[in-house]
């Protein structure tokens, strides 16, 4: 009878939700202004007590500076979970201000699941310093639906300690795929359990990384008009052939399929995986959530990069929020996430708390005045060897960002099959895998219109 869980999950969570307001009824404050209560997502978990305390301190400081505004935090991790997003929103459980990853911007905006906040952007004092191309991602038909919070491009995350152990120079990381392959072989040769290069194969992460890899080689997932698949191309074949050869010819990728985000992050945190495609936030997550040793990790540019899949997240506001709630929400976002030297940019506090400070994990302000001030502050308070990330910083500035394809999740599910094909079968026919995926993608795109 337990199998009915699957159906019930879909039925009950997805279906039986009822709509309610997102906040509590506003009542006049002591000063006469309308009191407002907002709920805010992304409070650090109890397992990170220092980070949580810093958050709570910020909440207290914000409420003191904004009389009449009450902030209630939620600590669901991850902050954005596609499994619960729709039902939470429909059931009135969604926070007033919540995080959406770039992968979901288009869907959330198109489905009316985020409030038009154009009139409130003034609450974010450094709004005009946010990168224009990043702001564009949360803008549709001239209306703004989010405050970009994080932006990064993909690089190559590598374990410097393993490089040293394998006789490689960690200060000259691979720049080409041939060099990646050679380095992976040497790391895998360290012994059983060592993996030279880690890669996803399922849970839509396989398709996501295929997209990163094909973009990096100058290829595309879809034709410019988004009507047909374009990944059955020399670039797509090169991605798969390289993976196939590393897995089956060099035996440098381990013998275990990695399904879902946690699997590779956990492996990376174990200190036995040499390299993976990833953004700087991989270092933060591997260290904070998967117990990796921060000094071990370095980042370099994407090998032979011609373009880079954009990554990041934005804060969006609950479409059911009242104008007062929306304004207070944007003020919170400004206070905690967009003020130099405060909130998340209080690098001195982060350093004192033992956080890894110095990872260039956010380029949302680019080289604007705010961006330069943040970067200077970050370097000044760095607790990490920032030179470990210089190759990435230099390379990222020269690689043009490229947005996710439309119907990304559907395409990633289709592309998971080709990734798991080459990583699970020595005799996998790359041409056939790509042709089959192309047929499926074209049919899906035609059905979606």
């Amino acid at each position: 009878m337990r199998r009915s869980t699957g159906l019930l999950l879909v039925s009950v969570l997805g279906i039986s939700a009822t709509a309610c307001g997102s906040g509590e009824p506003a009542t006049p404050s002591a000063g006469g202004a309308k009191a407002v209560t907002i709920t805010v997502a992304c409070q650090p978990a109890r397992s990170a007590p220092k980070e949580r305390q810093a958050w709570d301190d910020d909440v207290a400081a914000f409420m003191k500076a904004h009389p009449g505004v009450t902030v209630k935090s939620t600590d669901q991790q991850p902050c954005f979970d596609p499994k619960t997003f729709g039902p939470k929103l429909a059931g009135g459980q969604m926070e007033t201000v919540f995080v959406v990853p770039v992968t979901n911007y288009a869907d959330v905006i198109a489905q009316g699941q985020a409030l038009d906040i154009t009139q409130y952007t003034g609450a974010v004092k450094n709004w005009n310093d946010l990168r224009a191309d990043v702001r564009e991602l949360v803008t549709k038909d001239g209306k703004v639906y989010g405050v970009p919070n994080v932006h990064y491009s993909v690089g190559l995350v590598y374990n410097r300690a393993l490089f040293t152990k394998a006789g490689l120079d960690p200060n000259t990381p691979p720049k080409t795929w041939a060099e990646v392959r050679e380095a992976a072989k040497k790391i895998a040769a360290l012994g059983p359990g060592y993996v030279g290069y880690g890669e996803y194969s399922g849970g839509n992460t396989g398709g996501w990384h295929f997209t990163q890899a094909i973009y990096g080689r100058g290829g595309a997932i879809l034709t410019p008009d988004n009507k047909k698949a374009a990944f059955n191309s020399p670039e797509g074949k090169a991605v798969l052939q390289n993976l196939h050869d590393m897995r089956w010819v060099d035996n440098s990728m381990g013998n275990k399929l990695l399904v879902g985000w946690e699997s590779l992050m956990m492996a990376m945190g174990s200190g036995k995986v040499g390299m993976m495609l990833g953004a700087p936030d991989v270092v933060t997550d591997v260290v904070n959530k998967f117990k990796g040793n921060v000094a071990d990790y370095g980042i370099t540019g994407f090998p032979e990069a011609k373009a880079s899949l954009s990554g990041g997240e934005a804060f969006m506001v609950n479409p059911k929020a009242t104008p007062e709630e929306a304004k207070a929400a944007l003020e919170w976002v400004d206070f905690r996430f967009n003020t130099v030297g405060k909130g998340r940019f209080d690098f001195a506090r982060g350093k004192a708390n033992g956080n890894p400070v110095g990872v260039p994990d956010n380029d949302v302000y680019g080289d604007s005045a705010t961006g330069k001030a943040i970067q200077a502050d970050r370097v000044k308070n760095a607790s990490l060897p920032v030179q470990n990330y210089d190759p990435y910083v230099q390379a990222a500035a020269t690689v043009p960002p490229k947005a996710e394809p439309v119907h990304a999740q559907e395409l990633y599910a289709i592309l998971d099959v080709v990734m798991s094909g080459v990583l699970s079968r020595k005799d996998a026919g790359i041409d056939q895998l790509l042709a089959d995926a192309e047929t499926k993608a074209d049919a899906m795109l035609a059905a979606k219109g």
């Binding site: 019930l8 997805g14 619960t84 699941q113 013998n255 998971d416």
Partner: protein, 288 residues
């Protein structure tokens, strides 16, 4: 009034049960039926789209594979999950010593939360330090890819499922076996029947009804397989373990296409209704 008062407690329990069924079973089913004909984002008012969701579900690239995998999983699960508990029940029924202990051992996996059981098997199946490959290595046999090959992934899930659910089925079979009158076995023995003839001519006919019921219940249950692919394989490799229920989950929570998920749910429900109808008919004929 007197009768009503006398049965008040019974009506109270009945109402509670009806309330639970209404809220957690019938209402979601009705909503799912409605949803399967709507396009909705759960925020804005839904729009009626006729059979579009059904068309989209059928046209999905993984639709055919999901049904084939589900049917294959069901058949394999029946082969293991239906026959093995019956044989175990027969053995337990014949034992004279350590009966209670062995029953406890057989039932133990049912008491584990499914997630825990599945995670345990994830370690068993690990191609490196996993228990199963260690055992194969000890026996000088080559390692298997288990979950990491499209040729072994599905059967690996069947093994997990069988292990998790065997205890309940075994206990039900055991209860049925213990209801068989001992005189029937004594008479068969006097007629010179060996153990296999006794099973064929006494045990199976006497437990026919429960065997049929369990067959249908297991078909209905195994066709909704979800936890195993969700936790162990993500439907891979190469869609080899994507099931109908898992695909529904993908539609709803990965693609946020709730109407399409509802439509696929309705298709699965229709298929299960066919089995339920067969079961009802079979048991009715049997009683007649």
């Amino acid at each position: 009034m007197g009768i009503l008062r006398r049965n008040l407690t019974a009506y109270g329990f009945l109402c509670a049960a009806l309330f639970c069924f209404t809220v957690f079973a019938w209402y979601p089913m009705v909503r799912e039926f409605i949803l399967s004909f709507q396009k909705t984002d759960l925020i804005n008012p839904p729009t009626w789209v006729g059979l579009d969701n059904f068309k989209a579900a059928v046209q999905d690239p993984a639709f055919g594979e999901a049904w084939l995998n589900t049917v294959e999983f069901t058949l394999l699960a029946l082969l293991c999950g239906y026959a093995v508990p019956f044989v175990v029940a027969l053995v337990l029924n014949e034992l004279r010593h350590a009966r209670a202990y062995l029953r406890f051992v057989v039932y133990l996996p049912v008491m584990l939360p499914p997630i825990v059981a599945v995670l345990l098997f994830r370690w068993f199946y690990d191609p490196g330090p996993g228990l199963f490959n260690q055992v194969l290595d000890f026996l000088h046999l080559p390692p298997l890819a288990w979950l990491d090959s499209s040729s072994t992934a599905l059967i690996s899930l069947v093994l997990v499922s069988t292990w998790m659910n065997m205890g309940s089925a075994t206990l039900i079979y055991l209860a049925a076996l213990q209801n068989i009158a001992p005189e029937l076995y004594e008479a068969a023995e006097l007629d010179g029947a060996g153990i296999f003839k006794r099973i064929r001519h006494v045990t199976i006919p006497q437990t026919r009804l429960i065997l049929l019921l369990m067959l249908m219940l297991q078909i209905v249950a195994t066709m909704q397989v979800f936890i195993e692919p969700y936790m162990l394989t993500g439907g891979g490799p190469e869609n080899a373990t994507v099931s109908v229920a898992y695909l529904m989950y993908q539609f709803a929570f990965s693609q946020m296409n709730y109407g399409q998920a509802g439509a696929l749910g309705m298709l699965l429900m229709l298929a299960l209704l066919v089995f339920a109808a067969i079961q009802l008919r079979t048991t009715r004929e049997d009683r007649a």
